[in-house]
């Protein structure tokens, strides 16, 4: 599936797998691990937190911090074991909070009470870390209101089956979640998008159904949504410019858990892709280290293998199995070290494969030359760097194994930094 076909003169054709690709049709529960880690981005410093080492926490307890929503939620019962300040490789600060888990869950009662009156306030107060969406609060509290919500029953990257499995398994629960969603967001217009084989199941949600062809990269929301609405999305603008919000089927289900079952959702469904590209869906507590999940599935790893959070085309590489899954981690991708293809520093030979493959119609061959030399502004102004939809196909097809996609992201990152500095000095 990853190879160029023998006769390959057009664009790469990367079809998504269907549910029958799963090793088992059910979601496998992962036992609660001994230790959980929660990552907090946007957080200033450890001293801004209301907790320290040794603070006891309950499952679902709201803990204050200066970041989205102004709080985070403890996914388990136990004691805070450590708080460390870290930096991502793009130099963004984040806090890692480790919780020593104490066996059985003791649920914090606050949310159960609050859930008696479901509404936007309760959602803002408790659901900033709703599983399956990176920032739920920004979807419901907006200056310019959205007119449509798109419920994504497809999965963006290849070999991920999380949303499709949930859509297939529980359309009725999604229907219940949709009712809560419209109450919380105030938006009635919803559209459910699924691959063709899930249409019948999706119709049980009672919402308007749209079918999307399961071909990568057209399942990436930046391509999917403008296509569905038949509206162009200006380069480098967020999807909300089209006045639509996208929320995954999983997040809608989590809303049902929150308001129908009145428990705060603290678990995430994850597609685990093993070294043979087999996929198993698991349900794990947010903050569970990757190691525990792989252990439960008997997937062994060794030095030099690759692990990414996300799918094979866009996932984020991690260097340690101790990395936890987060509330918006869709997949874990494991690759044997024999299959790791090292990037190369060879020059571009101008073969044009990337240009053929690029869904944003970019002159990738020119961009590579500029970005290699640090000419980020020129890349954006003359060659439309910012139109890139971040699909990774350019690297996937590059004959010279140039990390083209990495260059694109580096360029965008540098430009964003410069813009921020200018505003700051401005």
């Amino acid at each position: 599936m990853t190879k160029k076909p023998f006769f390959g003169f057009g664009r790469p054709k990367l079809k998504h797998v269907r549910l029958d690709h799963l090793t088992q049709p059910e979601i496998k529960p992962i036992p609660l691990p001994a230790r959980l880690t929660v990552f907090l981005h946007h957080a200033a410093e450890a001293k801004d937190l209301g907790i320290r080492s040794g603070t006891p926490v309950k499952t679902g307890e709201k803990l204050p911090y200066k970041g989205i929503g102004g709080y985070f939620v403890s996914p388990a019962t136990g004691t805070i074991q450590g708080i460390s300040e870290n930096r991502t490789y793009t130099d963004r600060r984040f806090l890692a909070i480790t919780i020593q888990v104490e066996g059985k869950d003791k649920w914090d009662p606050q949310f159960t009470e609050a859930a008696q009156s479901p509404g936007p306030e309760t959602a803002l107060d408790y659901l900033a870390f709703l599983p399956g969406i990176s920032d739920f609060t920004s979807l419901i509290s907006r200056d310019t209101p959205l007119h449509t919500l798109i419920i994504n029953g497809t999965d963006p990257d290849l070999l991920i089956l999380t949303n499709q499995l949930l859509m297939n398994a529980s359309p009725e629960d999604i229907k219940a979640g949709l009712a809560h969603l419209s109450k919380v967001s105030g938006i009635d217009q919803v559209m459910v998008v699924v691959p063709p084989d899930l249409r019948t199941q999706a119709e049980k949600t009672g919402a308007e159904i749209r079918v999307a062809e399961p071909v990568y990269p057209h399942t990436l929301p930046r391509l999917l949504v403008p296509n569905l609405l038949n509206q162009p999305l200006p380069a480098n603008r967020p999807l909300s410019d089209l006045r639509v919000g996208v929320i995954s089927a999983e997040a809608v289900l989590a809303l049902k858990t929150a308001f129908t079952d009145k428990t705060l959702p603290v678990e995430k469904v994850i597609s685990v892709i093993d070294k043979e590209n087999r996929v198993t869906c698991v349900r794990a507590r947010i903050g569970t280290p990757v190691k525990d999940i792989l252990g439960a599935l008997k997937i062994s790893t060794q030095q030099g293998d690759r692990i990414a959070l996300g799918g094979p085309m866009t996932g984020q590489g991690v260097y340690s199995e101790d990395m936890p899954i987060m509330h918006d981690t869709d997949a874990i991708f494991v690759q044997d070290k024999r299959r790791v293809i090292p990037p190369s520093d060879s020059p571009c030979i101008n073969c044009g494969e990337c240009v053929r493959a690029c869904p944003a119609r970019l002159p990738v061959n020119m961009l590579v030359r500029l970005l290699e030399n640090g000419l980020y502004e020129e890349a954006a102004q003359r060659y439309d760097l910012l139109s890139c939809v971040e699909c990774g196909l350019c690297s996937y097809v590059c004959v010279m194994h140039i990390p083209v996609f990495h260059y694109m992201m580096l360029g965008k990152h540098e430009l964003a930094l410069r813009e921020a500095t200018e505003e700051f000095n401005g």
Partner: protein, 322 residues
């Protein structure tokens, strides 16, 4: 954290379609083989010698340049060998070894390496070499002089030279079938039309060359020669003749689509190919040289950066969308 078990962490994507430069180079060489083999069976040991010399000298110059420029050794990627092979295909069978040595030097060192190596050459390296030789030692590349001692059982006058000197009256010596099957005088690897076409189609289907360039080049040759022919059939050769003689087919499948010196966007590829085809026939019909492919392709190579300025609107920049 377990320091003994670190994972490889690079940027996405983690899959690759498996293509590589060496696979590409060796496949292009493979596709050229039918034409080369026919050339060798026709002209015997001297042709084999030229091919062997050219490929080895090209690799030799590449290696020297790798050392001189203190760059990693790149002969394994097959590109130097490919340049050597293509250069040999453009030569008459009894080219002296020192011409091959000088020619490969021009192709590798001047055509490719001094511009920065792979991917940076603005012109097609084998064609740079051939052009220099044509200008410096014209006699070496005059097929009638070079092949004077051969009699292979078919009409041994180089078709394009015959056309130039005697006009279309001589064309009855060359039937399309003969031209396709290599029954014509010419360079080692350019006379077997059918072999080149089969090899070229193989390359197109496998995605190693861009079909847009080949197709528009051949269309350019066809349409231009047709216009000439229709305007005066007594003075100009019909299209089939232009398509099947000289460097046309090797140009269409192996030279014009060379990566670094050709455009990558759809419309520019069409313009590039069509211009090369047009210029080829123009030079043949009214220029000084018997064959026009060499200078036609080099000229469009020069214009290539201009062509590639025409490109589609990027996503989110125009009024249309994907």
């Amino acid at each position: 954290m377990d320091k003994d078990k670190l994972f490889v962490s690079s940027y996405a994507p983690y899959w690759h379609n498996g293509s590589s430069l060496s696979v590409k180079s060796y496949n292009i060489m493979l596709a050229a083989l039918p034409a080369v083999i026919l050339g060798i069976t026709q002209y015997g040991a001297p042709a084999l010698g030229v091919v062997a010399f050219s490929v080895s000298f090209a690799i030799f110059w590449e290696l020297i340049m790798n050392y001189v420029m203190k760059r990693p050794v790149t002969i394994g990627d097959g590109n130097a060998a490919l340049i050597g092979l293509l250069f040999a295909m453009l030569l008459p069978a009894n080219t002296p070894w020192w011409v091959v040595l000088v020619g490969t030097f021009i192709a590798i060192v001047i055509g490719k390496q001094i511009f920065g190596g792979m991917g940076c050459n603005p012109l097609n390296p084998p064609l740079v070499a051939i052009a220099m030789l044509m200008l410096s030692w014209e006699a070496m590349l005059s097929f009638d002089e070079a092949l004077v001692n051969y009699d292979l059982g078919f009409y041994m006058a180089y078709p394009l030279a015959a056309l130039k000197h005697f006009g279309p009256d001589t064309l009855y010596h060359y039937s399309p079938g003969q031209l396709l099957m290599g029954q014509q005088a010419g360079a080692i690897g350019t006379t077997f039309g059918l072999g080149l076409i089969i090899g070229g189609i193989y390359l197109i289907l496998r995605g190693f060359i861009r079909w847009e360039i080949t197709l528009s080049f051949l269309t350019g040759v066809f349409v231009t020669s047709l216009l000439f022919y229709v305007s005066d059939p007594a003075a100009y050769a019909p299209p089939y003749f232009h398509l099947l003689t000289g460097y046309t087919l090797i140009g269409a499948f192996f030279l014009a689509p060379e990566d670094a010196s050709s455009p990558v966007h759809f419309i520019p590829m069409l313009i590039y190919g069509a211009c090369a085809g047009f210029l080829t026939v123009l030079i043949r019909n009214i220029g000084a040289f018997a064959d026009g492919v060499v200078f036609a392709v080099l000229l469009v190579n020069v214009a290539n950066p201009l062509f590639d300025k025409i490109r589609p609107k990027a996503l989110g920049k125009g009024t249309d969308h994907a």
